[in-house]
């Protein structure tokens, strides 16, 4: 009967080695008193043992109580039938009792804990009733309620129930057989619980892989095998623990990385709900986690059409790169963002987006400022050009294209010297040197060349371009076309010239008409009184004198322009000596002390007559300024021009200790017909003097201090040694004005 059960023992794999057709010998003797626990791996193993245990008890005429799951009860009945037993008789007689484990359990469990009195009463009464059914018999019991509690996750209740069973076993002297599936204890740390369960039992029956072994030798081998397996498991558990810990660490690092990344990140579900966002994203928009996560992403976008497009594209599983959008901050402001996003797809299902949001607001604003500046530069009338420190053009605006005729692409990358006339090429290194010294050049008037080869007057402002650290990295240049301005200036100067000619004509008219009136009258009277010879002679003498006046004025004004003598090399010291001789009587009569300082090499190529006129004029002025005597210092020396490339020449200085020139007169002394000598002056002397000096390519300057005792005037004339081309319109030179506290240097206006 029992032997027929053995074929059904299901053992698998590793257990095959130790499996045997011999029935296990360690089942508790159903006739003894005790509390056995069976661990099992496979239901059929449990049912085999249970079948034998119950079958033996019933076969011996004992009573049996089985509290089990329905499946186990049905299987048990089936086993018993297969063994040729008819359990129905026992059931009928009350010698075999089958109870449902869960149902029975519910009768004494109170708040998840076995109630002792209810249990004792229920089961105790059952035991008593069964044991005394008909006649007194021994009882065996099988219970699965503990396993059920254990499987329900209530091991403490299970152990408590075992203890209550133990009390009943002691009281009623029966053998209780209970069973746990071994997988109830598959967790790490269950070893302690297993020990506690075992402690509550008098017999412990290991699961079938051990129990089914036949002899001691095989069991020892199995123990060794299990020990090895246990060791392997311990090692594996350690490895797994390590791996898990590593994994947790890695996960924590990843979470930290995402959470604290400086770029905003979020996940959005297929319907647009924000599932997750990191700190950078929340900080960027100023929302708390709850105000953002769980909301629809479009709430935070300024342009609804844009976010709809983004969601549609992502819905088609497209990948977005650098999609620009504007997001709304909690404070109402907007941020420009660039979105990079794609979708996590799992088994074809849209899980969530992976969005990276980069705040480009500052960049955008800077771009706008740049664009605005670029527009200003581009539409400026002035040429705005940048070049590097080697003079290579790096940018060229529309103004520059208009003024110089070169298109940007024609000149960028080439040297700025393209627009500098050949004779002015020296300027560029000087300009670059100034820039390297961190100096600006403002309103520097010069000439530049257009693409067509035309020379244009420009005003340049050049300044250094610096990087963030203040290092000079390039040059910015603004050029203004002042050709028109120059032309207007030229026209103005011509007008002025005409006006001064007009003024000259007016003055000449005055100076000439008066003597002519006098002559006319005198001739009328001479004719009228023709018989009176002496009267006639007197009238004619007077007429002669008046005509001399006219001649003198004509010579002084018009004669200068008619000078035709050619230039010759003249020693200016000797010329000065000659002029001085003309005034010798006047000088000595006034008690003027003359100090002469004549240097060597004082020759210059000049128009001798005109220079004599200049020197005579200046000496006469000095003498006039010293009616009561003084000093006249004359210096002639070889010198160099102060403003025309160190051109060699001769400098004549005529200095007196006279009354000086009043500051208000200073402005006018070179004007025609300005005179402080009412009776004797024509007001043309210094005007002509300046014209002559300019004609010679020289320069004149004056320094004067008015005053009786400490006054004086210094005239300084520079004449170039080589003279100049007198046929051409001379380029007059002005020396730079110097101003000191109580000194006034006046530089005559020059014409170019």
């Amino acid at each position: 009967m029992i032997g027929s059960l053995e074929g059904e023992v299901q053992v698998s794999n590793t257990r095959d080695r130790v499996a045997s057709s011999v029935p296990p010998t360690n089942w508790p003797d159903s006739s003894s008193t005790g509390h056995s626990v069976q661990f099992y791996e496979d239901d059929s193993f449990l049912l085999d043992g249970l079948g034998r245990f119950i079958g033996a008890a019933l076969g011996a005429g004992d009573a049996a109580i089985v509290i089990a799951t329905k499946a186990h009860r049905d299987a048990l009945v089936q086993r018993l039938k297969e063994c040729g037993m008819d359990p129905s008789l026992g059931l009928m007689l009350g010698r075999f009792i089958l109870l449902d484990a869960a149902e029975t359990l519910s009768k004494f469990m109170v708040d998840g804990w076995p109630d002792e009195s209810r249990f004792t009463q229920l089961i105790g009464d059952l035991l008593t009733a069964t044991a005394t059914q008909g006649k007194k018999r021994r009882v065996v019991a099988f219970g699965e309620m503990v396993a059920l509690l254990w499987q329900q996750g209530n091991p403490e209740a299970s152990i408590r129930l075992e203890q209550l069973w133990n009390d009943l076993v002691r009281m009623h002297s029966f053998h209780l057989y209970c069973a746990y599936p071994i997988n109830c204890f598959s967790q790490e740390g269950d070893d302690e619980l297993v020990q506690r369960v075992c402690a509550e039992h008098s017999h412990v029956l290991p699961a079938e892989s051990y129990t089914s072994l036949v002899n001691e030798e095989e069991r020892l081998r199995a123990v060794a095998f299990l020990q090895q397996k246990a060791q392997a498991l311990v090692t594996e558990i350690q490895d797994r623990k390590k791996a898990q810990s590593d994994l947790r660490l890695r996960e924590a690092e990843l979470v930290d990385f995402l959470e604290n990344a400086v770029i905003g990140m979020h996940w959005v579900s297929a319907d647009g709900t924000i599932l997750w966002a990191n700190r950078a994203e929340l900080d960027m928009l100023g929302y708390s986690r709850d105000e953002y996560i769980g909301h629809h992403i479009s709430e935070f976008h300024a342009d609804k059409a844009v976010i709809e497009d983004i969601l549609q594209r992502l819905g088609r599983h497209e990948e977005l790169h650098g999609y620009e959008s504007r997001m709304l901050r909690k404070d109402g402001s907007t941020r420009y963002v660039r979105i990079h996003s794609n979708v996590l797809v799992h088994n074809g299902r849209f899980v969530h987006t992976r969005c990276f949001t980069v705040d480009i607001t500052e960049h955008k604003q800077a771009e706008e400022v740049r664009a605005r500046l670029a527009a200003i530069v581009q539409c400026s009338d002035d040429a705005i050009v940048s070049k590097d420190l080697n003079g290579i053009v790096t940018s060229w605006n529309a103004g520059a294209e208009r003024i110089f005729g070169y298109k940007s692409e024609e000149i960028v990358g080439k040297s700025i010297t393209m627009i500098i006339p050949p004779e002015l090429q020296d300027q560029e290194p000087l300009i670059l040197a100034k820039i390297r010294r961190n100096e600006r050049i403002e309103h520097f008037e010069t000439v530049r060349l257009t693409k067509a080869g035309q020379r244009i007057d420009v005003s340049l402002t050049v300044s250094p371009v610096k990087d963030e650290r203040g290092a000079i990295i390039g040059v910015a240049k603004i050029a203004r076309d002042i050709s028109e301005h120059k032309k207007m200036e030229q026209a103005l100067r011509t007008t002025e010239k005409l006006a001064s000619v007009g003024r000259l004509a007016a003055s000449v008219a005055h100076e000439i008409n008066n003597p002519l009136e006098a002559v006319t009258n005198l001739l009328f009277l001479a004719k009228r009184d023709i018989s009176d010879r002496s009267k006639v002679e007197q009238r004619l003498d007077q007429a002669n004198q008046e005509l001399d006046r006219v001649t003198h004025i004509a010579t002084q004004t018009l004669g200068f322009y008619r000078e035709t003598s050619s230039a010759s090399t003249v020693d200016l010291a000797k010329t000065l000596e000659g002029v001085l001789g003309l005034y010798a009587r006047k000088i000595s009569s006034r008690g003027i002390n003359v100090i002469k300082e004549y240097g060597r090499k004082t020759e210059a190529k000049v128009l001798a007559g005109e220079i004599r006129q200049v020197l005579a004029n200046l000496i006469a002025n000095s003498i006039d300024a010293m009616p009561n005597g003084g000093s006249l210092r004359l210096r002639v020396s070889n010198s160099r021009s102060r403003n025309n490339g160190n051109q060699p020449g001769v400098r004549v200085i005529i200095a007196d200790t006279g009354s000086g020139i009043r500051p208000e007169s200073m402005k006018k002394i070179f004007e025609p017909f300005f005179t402080t000598k009412k009776d004797t002056g024509t007001g043309l002397g210094l005007w002509i003097t300046r014209a002559i000096i300019e004609k010679h390519g020289g320069s004149i300057r004056v320094h004067s201090k008015p005053g009786i005792s400490q006054g004086g005037t210094v005239f300084s004339i520079f004449l170039p040694e080589a003279g100049c081309d007198f046929d051409k319109t001379a380029t007059p030179q002005t020396e730079p004005a110097e101003r000191q506290d109580n000194q006034l240097w006046l530089v005559p206006k020059t014409e170019k």
């Binding site: 005055h510 006319t520 009258n521 005198l522």
Partner: protein, 123 residues
Amino acid sequence: MRVIVVDDEPVIADTLVDILTGEGYEAFTVANGHAAIHWARMILPDIIITDVIMPGMNGIETATVIKQFLPDCRIILFSGQAASIDLLEKARADGHEFEVLAKPIRPSELVLTLRPPPQRAYA
């Protein structure tokens, strides 16, 4: 007919007096505006011929003053230069109209100019 010639050029002033005397005028000469006004009050001339550009008071100022106390006196401005045109413009703007003669003028023409009685509109 009494004439005062005002001119800072003595040759012009003297020769004019000589010429006008020869033509039968009772002519006097002064060198500046102040003297002209002083003598005009004294001798009540019929005609005043005055230079315009003179040191001190100019001819127009002189004429304007004399006109006030000698409204019937014929005043002729005798000018040798364009600058006096500006002064005349200014006088005209102030409501003073004067006869002008330009230097140089032939004495015979001057005499002819002086001969006809002044054409003045009496209101």
